[in-house]
Every structure is written in structure tokens, then in C-alpha cells.
């Protein structure tokens, strides 16, 4: 690993490779995940799902299931109180009139054990009236296509449109020397955490509800739970257990959460629902396929002149929040590199398929696959090295994009230079075609300082310092395994001046913790980190006041360093901080050393024209991939992947690497193997054997470079890095395939049989050279 250090300022904790605080428990099997909890009287839940992609529900008969001994509750739309939920309120926890995809929930049971629950499901009779189904979004938009949501006032199954235009597109086209055009598609893929969803719900005898759920937008979850089920949200406690991976799959409230609560209410017993692996694929949220028709132009000097995109996002049967992946995809079309004119015309379309959610990267891998292939196609058409072309067009610090994204710090140039040099790009790109080897690059822009999708983008933090000197941080944000707890503890330790091992982090219980939007959009280090830092500042001031009183010295003369109170910096007379505050804390009429803060980044929601600075900082990164293609079998092997990311400041370099390496391998999976193939609405491979998740033997060692740009708004200069790693491999690998065999991949995953087909059809770029008027394909 290499770190490009922008500054050399010394910190005692920040910048250190500190192991995750929860790692010792995790490596000894002591961590108690939701399914590991042992709760007296716990019932097991199971869901009756639709086997049909599109059908009217004629009748549901649950009488035989209800009569089965050991069954404590059987619910369906006809015997519960529920309202529709999701963006646009287009979904019901239990479907009342229609099912719109395989896996749709029609009934559920709670029983004393899993075997009886399964028997009860088999005893539920559902009579369906089958309807014509559509699983292709382009077909769904045609006149006469099956109507998936009759209750909505929409046409062509289009649930939303995201349209944007800036600059003089016609003039930009005229000024272009070269224009590239093409189509680019992505598959339905799954976040596929190793732990499936596990939800536990329990009403106490007074009606107070406690839900144990791996959700990471906890406070909005509580609100939506109350709104949808008609509960009093002041009487709901959400506890988040340790989460066995999410990647966006567990981000917000879903059908199974409502159903577990409804079962607990009906059974008046605690109920647990654990999705099976198959249900995790068919009944939990996926990454939406997005289809791009893109044109990009450049002038003879190598400046990008315009981008023009027609986009169809296939979000499946319901919106969830997956409809908003277009927001991120749009940012990439308009704002990756300096693009004076751009247009995005897009439709989010309903189809009879499992629906899209907010999976890591949220629209950006799909958009970057299109945009960054055209970047290399353009550079090649102009005879300019693709990395040199990118450097020429790169975003810069202190600039504003046409969509109003205010870029404060930008390490895109440094990232490009790092991967260029470390991969041997200049000497090796375009030289290995006889070995069917090639190099390809890609870069991204992504939110790195929060994302104002909702009214607030804030997070609260509280700090308590007790008589032992233990520093307790209570953060609104949660840990998903990414290491945010450790990063927050490091920020607090650095700010107060104590060793990191005296800091504890509590972040899993809505009764205790302050509000937060939740973990999404690579925002935790930035937003929760700033909140923790502000709270720590307050706690430190109170700590020094307490010490001043005990020591009889003015607080202004005191500071704290590595847990020692120093007077005017004098180490010889230093006093341990806990000793200095203890007497004051335990006396009569004492006060508690406690501090709280709420941080909401200085950003704005985008207006109706999609203009606005949604994030207080933007993350950038560059990858170079090297591939080897077997032209006979079509197998692509990624033999090298160099990744450089602008992280602002690496609070914990080991954690930053972990996010990038993990994201990059997930991205390699997306590029080459991962997809949920669907035929007539049916999943062909809803299991981990066929899904194509990379094993240790598949990817190369990821070579990581951390670029530090010290963002002025980020905590110690840090920017978000949770999603960066996954965005680039599909684009970089596609470009490497083009370098290796001269074929232009139009879709991923780039499965061997597709590659063979592309080679046979000799699929290349469509380039119009306006100087000569020649078109080549």
C-alpha cells in the first residue's frame, strides 16, 4: 500500500492502523448476531410467497393452517391493519389484491418451530388468477404492455422520470471532432451478505414494541414501521444487533420487517423471522439493471464537449428507494470530468421482477460502466492515451459542476497518476494483444460528505466521561462490519487526547442513541465522525474545567495529551486525567461530564431541475485492471487490479484498505460473474452455488493507494470511502477486455459465452469522426 500524504501534521491516534475494536469477539465466535440470540418463548416465522410473477389474488384460505397445533398466528392482508409503504407508497407488506413478482408476500405464520411453520405454510391455499407478465423494461414501456400498478396514475409502467439538461447540446455536438455512441447494460445483482436478514419483534404486555433488526437507517425505520402499521412510534425501540454484512441490502424497512411485527402482534409472543438463502435472493432487495444509450463527444484538442444519455432503469415490481439510484447515475453522466453540456433523459420502469434497492454504489457502477467505456473509446478515436485524456479533462479542486456539485478537494489527478505508474500503464497498455492481455482504466465521482436525499442529513453524538476516566461515545450511527465504530472511537480519542482503548462506542439502541439518518451514501466517517468530533470537543472543555477545579489551576493553562493533563505543556508535572477529574465528579452537587452535538453538513437538496450541492465533499478514485482473455472459451481472468482512492484523510488506513479491497472484489464479481438470471419472471439461480460470488481463488491481490487531500469540512480531512471500491471494476475490466481483444463489452457480467459471441460478431465501437464525416463500427 502506498499513501500519498498531503500534509505531515502529527496525530497520536488518527492515521494509525488500529485493529477493529470488535475483532477479538468476532474471531473467537463470541459476537452474538440476531440468530444467535436465545429468547424465551420465541416463535419462528415463515412467509408464504407468490410463485407467480403477476397474478390477481382471488382468495386466501388459512383455516387449515390456523388449526395446526403449534401455530400461534396466521396473517394475510385480510386480517391485519397495514398501509402501503416505500417511495410513492406502491407496496404493501402483505399483498391484498395482486402479486407483482415471484416472492411477493401473501401470508405469514408464527409457530413454535420451523418445521410446524413450514407445514402451516403448505396448508395455506391461495387461489390466483394469472396475468400476463413483463420482465423487460423496454417491453414494459410499450403500448399494450401488462399494467403492473393499475392503482397509480402512470403511463407505460414508468414510475419516475429523471431528466436534466445543461449547456448548448447542439453547439457542443457541432464543435465535436469525434462522437462515440453505444449501449451499455447491467444485470440484476444481489448484495448477498453472508448473513441473511434476521428480524425479531416483541410487544411487552403494555404494548411497547421492541424490534431487533439489522437495518441501518434505524430512526426512519421506526417512523415507517409506525406509519404503516398504525403504531405509536414513541412506544417502539429498535435495537440493531451486530450485522453480518449488508452492502445496502439491509439498509431500510422491508416487507419482512413489517410482517415480523404483525406476527408478534397477532401471536402476542416474541417472533423471529430468518430469511433462507433463497429468500434472501428472491425476497430481499437487489441492484437494479440500468440500460444506457450514451453519446459522448470531444473536440480535436481532446476536451470532452458533451454527454447525452437515454437511460432506462429496471427497478422491478416496486420502487422501494431503488428508484433513486438514478440520482447517483445522473451525477456521473453530468459531472465525471469537466463536461460543459449534458443531457439525461431517464425512466424508472416497473417490471414483474424482484425490485431494486439501495445496494452499495447505488447506480454508480452501472453509470460508470457506460461513461468510462466511452471515455476510452473517445481517447482511442482521437489517438490520445486514455489516462492522459482523463488527466486533461479531470475535475479539479474548488470547482462546481453543471449539476451544482461543489467540489472542494479533488484527488482525481493523483489517483490517475498512481494507478498509471503502479500498473506500468504507459509501457504496457496496447502492447499485449497477441497474448490476449490488456489494461483498462476507469475513474469515479461519488458523494463523500453525506448525501442530502432527505430533509436532514444529520447525525447526533453524545459523550460521557465517568469517574474511571472511561470515555463513552453514544453515536446515532451504526456499525455494519465496515469498522465505523473504531473510526469514531479514534476520532474521539484524538480530539480529547486519550488512548483509544478507553473509548467505548454505543450505537445500537434507539432508546439510548441520538438521531441519525443512517448508514448509507458513504457518509458515516464524514457525518457521524464530525458529530463525534464536535461532542468530543465539548467533553474535553468540560474535562479540563473539572481538572482545573481539582488542581487549582486555570483551565486555560491546561491541556490533555495521551491521557495526561499538562500545565502549559509541562510533562514533568503531568497528572493522569482520570485522577484529576475523579474528586470533582464524586463530590456533592457535582455535574456529569457530558457533551452532545448534532452535525448536519452544509449542503442542499437538489431542486426540481436536479441542481444542488447534495454533498459536503466528493470522493474520487481510479482503477486500472489487467485481464487475460481466453478467446476459445471466452473466460476472462483479472490478473491485476490497481486502485487509488481519494479518501481525504485515512483516519484508519487499514479500514480504508478493507473498504476498497472488499468493494473492488465485489466489483470484480459484478463485472464477471454475478447476476440473478430471470426467465419469465423466474429466478434460475437463487443460491450461492450459482450466483457467482468471487472466492479467494478468483480475484488478484488488490493493489491499494490511498490519496489524501485533507478535506476542509471532513473530520481531520476525511471523506467517505464505503462505496468507492465497487464502482470501477466493471468499467475498468471492460476497457481491459477491449485492449486485450479489440472487442467492446456492451454488458456485464462478462460471462464466457457472451465474450465468445462478441468475438464472433466482432463488436466494436461506433465512432463518428466529424472531421472526415466517416463513421466506423
Amino acid at each position: 500500500m502506498a499513501v500519498t500524504q498531503a500534509t505531515s501534521d502529527a496525530h497520536s491516534v488518527v492515521g494509525k492502523r488500529i485493529p477493529k475494536l470488535d475483532a477479538p469477539d468476532k474471531v473467537t465466535g463470541a459476537t452474538v448476531y440476531a440468530d444467535d440470540m436465545r429468547i424465551p418463548g420465541l416463535l419462528t416465522a415463515a412467509i408464504k410467497r407468490s410463485p407467480h410473477a403477476h397474478a390477481r389474488i382471488v382468495s386466501i384460505d388459512v383455516s387449515k393452517a390456523e388449526a395446526l397445533p403449534g401455530v400461534h398466528a396466521v396473517i394475510h392482508a385480510g386480517n391485519v391493519t397495514q398501509r402501503s409503504f416505500g417511495y410513492g407508497h406502491d407496496n404493501e407488506p402483505l399483498k391484498s389484491r395482486k402479486v407483482r413478482c415471484i416472492g411477493d408476500e401473501v401470508a405469514a405464520v408464527a409457530a413454535v418451530d420451523a418445521e410446524i411453520a413450514q407445514q402451516a405454510l403448505d396448508l395455506i391455499d391461495v387461489d390466483y388468477d394469472l396475468l400476463p407478465e413483463v420482465d423487460d423494461p423496454h417491453a414494459a414501456m410499450l403500448p399494450g404492455a401488462p399494467v403492473i400498478h393499475e392503482e397509480l396514475d402512470i403511463e407505460g409502467n414508468v414510475s419516475m422520470r429523471w431528466d436534466f439538461e445543461t449547456g448548448d447540446l447542439a453547439a457542443a455536438e457541432r464543435d465535436s471532432a469525434v462522437i462515440v455512441e453505444g449501449t451499455y447494460s447491467s444485470p440484476q445483482a444481489a448484495p448477498a451478505p453472508i448473513e441473511t436478514h434476521v428480524v425479531i419483534a416483541d410487544f411487552d404486555p403494555t404494548g411497547h414494541l421492541t424490534v431487533i433488526s439489522p437495518v441501518h437507517m434505524v430512526f426512519m425505520y421506526r417512523k415507517e414501521l409506525a406509519d404503516c402499521l398504525g403504531l405509536d412510534w414513541q412506544r417502539i425501540t429498535i435495537k440493531q444487533p451486530p450485522v453480518g454484512g449488508s452492502f445496502g441490502g439491509k439498509i431500510d424497512i422491508d416487507t419482512h420487517d413489517f410482517i415480523t411485527v404483525l406476527l408478534a402482534k397477532a401471536a402476542q409472543r416474541p417472533v423471529k423471522l430468518a430469511l433462507t438463502r433463497e429468500e434472501e435472493f428472491i425476497g430481499a432487495r437487489t441492484r437494479q439493471p440500468i440500460h444506457f444509450k450514451l453519446r459522448t463527444g470531444a473536440d480535436a484538442d481532446g476536451n470532452i464537449t458533451f454527454r447525452d444519455a437515454e437511460v432506462v432503469s429496471d427497478n422491478g415490481a416496486y420502487n422501494a428507494w431503488g428508484s433513486h439510484a438514478m440520482l447517483v447515475a445522473m451525477n456521473t453522466v453530468t459531472s465525471l470530468y469537466q463536461v460543459p453540456a449534458s443531457r439525461v433523459r431517464s425512466a424508472v420502469v416497473y417490471t414483474n421482477k424482484n425490485y431494486g434497492g439501495s445496494v452499495r454504489g447505488f447506480g454508480n457502477p452501472q453509470a460508470t460502466f457506460a461513461v468510462e467505456q466511452q471515455t476510452e473509446e473517445l481517447a482511442d478515436a482521437l489517438g490520445i492515451d486514455p489516462i492522459a485524456f482523463r488527466l486533461q479533462n479531470a475535475n479539479t479542486a474548488d470547482s462546481t459542476t453543471t449539476q451544482g456539485l461543489e467540489i472542494t478537494t479533488c484527488g482525481l489527478t493523483e489517483c490517475l497518476e498512481a494507478v498509471r505508474d503502479r500498473s506500468g500503464w504507459v509501457e504496457r497498455r496496447g502492447t499485449q494483444r497477441e497474448k490476449f492481455r490488456g489494461l483498462g482504466a476507469a475513474t469515479y465521482i461519488h458523494v463523500g460528505g453525506g448525501a442530502r436525499i432527505y430533509g436532514s442529513d444529520g447525525c447526533g453524538a453524545m459523550i460521557k466521561i465517568d469517574d474511571s476516566g472511561q470515555v463513552a461515545l453514544i453515536s446515532g450511527s451504526s456499525e455494519l462490519g465496515q469498522g465505523s465504530e473504531t473510526v469514531l472511537a479514534m476520532i474521539v480519542a484524538e480530539e480529547i487526547g486519550v488512548p483509544v482503548d478507553v473509548v467505548t462506542v454505543t450505537n445500537s439502541d434507539t432508546d439510548v442513541k441520538p438521531w441519525d439518518v443512517g448508514v448509507h451514501a458513504s457518509r458515516t466517517t464524514f457525518v457521524a465522525g464530525n458529530a463525534a468530533r464536535l461532542a468530543a470537543r465539548g467533553a474535553k472543555a468540560k474535562l479540563l474545567e473539572a481538572a482545573a477545579e481539582t488542581l487549582g489551576i486555570a483551565a486555560a493553562e491546561l491541556d490533555i495529551e495521551d491521557g495526561m493533563i499538562l500545565r502549559n505543556g509541562d510533562r514533568d508535572t503531568a497528572v493522569p486525567y482520570a485522577k484529576a477529574i475523579r474528586r470533582r465528579l464524586l463530590r456533592e452537587q457535582s455535574s456529569i461530564i457530558m457533551s452532545s452535538a448534532f452535525y448536519d453538513p452544509p449542503t442542499e437538496k437538489q431542486d426540481e431541475g436536479f441542481i444542488g450541492n447534495i454533498s459536503a465533499a466528493y470522493g474520487f478514485g481510479a482503477h486500472v485492471a489487467e485481464v487475460e482473455v481466453d478467446p476459445e472459451t471466452g473466460m476472462i481472468r483479472v490478473v491485476g487490479l490497481w486502485a487509488a482512492h481519494d479518501v481525504g484523510r485515512a483516519i484508519n488506513p487499514m479500514s480504508c484498505e478493507g473498504q476498497i479491497e472488499g468493494g473492488a472484489v465485489m466489483g470484480i464479481g459484478l463485472a464477471l460473474t454475478e447476476e440473478l438470471p430471470v426467465q419469465d419472471g423466474r429466478f434460475l439461480a437463487p443460491n450461492l452455488h450459482d450466483y457467482g460470488m468471487p472466492t479467494a481463488a478468483d480475484p488478484p491481490r488488490i493493489d491499494v493507494t490511498l490519496v489524501e487531500t485533507i478535506d476542509p469540512e471532513g473530520p481531520y480531512g476525511a471523506k467517505g470511502i464505503g462505496e468507492g471500491g465497487i464502482i470501477l471494476p466493471p468499467a475498468a475490466i471492460a476497457n481491459a477486455v477491449a485492449d486485450a481483444i479489440g472487442i467492446r463489452p456492451r454488458e456485464y457480467p462478462m460471462r464466457p459465452w457472451k465474450v465468445v459471441d462478441w468475438i464472433q460478431r466482432n463488436e466494436t465501437s461506433t465512432v463518428v469522426d466529424q472531421r472526415t464525416g466517416e463513421a466506423s463500427a
Binding site: A23, G29, A192, I194, E195, G481, G662, A696, D698, I702
Partner: protein, 154 residues
């Protein structure tokens, strides 16, 4: 039926159903929840345990078939008590555990590879651990930890 098992050095006599898996007995009957399940089809490796020195995906192993066996789970890798083996410590130091859900199975599989004398070679260890899926780390840091311990114990 009644089974006699030695698990992490302790003797257990368990009444089990003939259809119960070893995973079910470990987690539900004995309460050793360190061993995880991610698929119940033998694909993810999260439920890996050692049965008489062999790695076994316990979700596909009927408990009745391992009567009399010596079993080691993640809780028993360091001997007894809440201590860490050299390999567990290496996982912590290298940042090899993120969400931690694959970690127990990964550690058990890696422990057996090392006991079987695998070379401290990245490629060999990547192949050796290819039955255990990790979704968080991208494997770099897991491989680093295992290579280090394979070398130091080697």
C-alpha cells in the same frame, strides 16, 4: 438417538433426532453459536468445523454420522477460555474480520490448512480457502494473516 461427542475438549452426551445436522446440534442443542450458517447448502463455508481433523461443512453433516468424534469449533481454536490463538490474533492485527460472519468458518478452515502443512504461499492458500466465501474483505487481509501464521508455524 444418543451421541457422544468431544467438542473443544469437553465431553457431551446429546439426544438428537436422526435428521439433525451437526450445525443444528452445535448451535441449537449445545449453544455454541460461534459456528454460523449462511446458506445450508454447503456453498458459503460459514459453518465449517473440524471433525477428527477434517474440515466439514456442518450444515450438510448429519450429527448421527459423527458419533464418537472429536470436534473443534471456532470457540475451541485457542484451547480453552476467552483467549486467541496465533491465527486469531493475526486475523485481528491484519484487519481480516469486517462483519465477522464468515470469520469462524474461515478461521477453522485456515487452521486445518496450516495443520496439514500448507506452504506460506499466497496462491496455495487462496485455493485452500476457496470453499469459504467472504463478502466484506476482498480476501487480501485474510490471506495475509494466514500466510503469516503458515510461515511462523511452518
Amino acid at each position: 438417538m444418543k451421541l457422544s461427542l468431544t467438542i473443544n475438549g469437553d465431553p457431551y452426551r446429546e439426544n438428537v433426532e436422526s435428521t439433525q445436522t451437526l450445525l443444528g446440534v452445535l448451535r441449537d442443542d449445545i449453544g455454541l453459536t460461534g459456528t454460523k450458517w449462511g446458506c445450508l447448502t454447503g456453498d458459503c463455508g460459514s459453518c465449517t468445523v473440524l471433525v477428527d481433523g477434517r474440515t466439514v461443512v456442518s450444515c450438510l453433516q448429519l450429527a448421527a454420522q459423527v458419533d464418537g468424534s472429536t470436534i473443534i469449533t471456532v470457540e475451541g481454536l485457542a484451547g480453552r477460555g476467552r483467549t486467541m490463538s496465533d491465527l486469531q490474533d493475526a486475523f485481528v492485527r491484519h484487519g481480516a474480520a469486517q462483519c465477522g460472519f464468515c470469520t469462524p468458518g474461515m478461521l477453522v478452515a485456515a487452521e486445518q490448512l496450516i495443520r496439514d502443512g500448507i506452504e506460506a504461499d499466497e496462491k496455495a492458500i487462496r485455493e485452500g480457502l476457496s470453499g469459504n466465501l467472504c463478502r466484506c474483505t476482498g480476501y487480501n487481509k485474510i490471506i495475509d494473516a494466514v500466510v503469516e501464521i503458515a510461515a511462523t508455524r511452518g
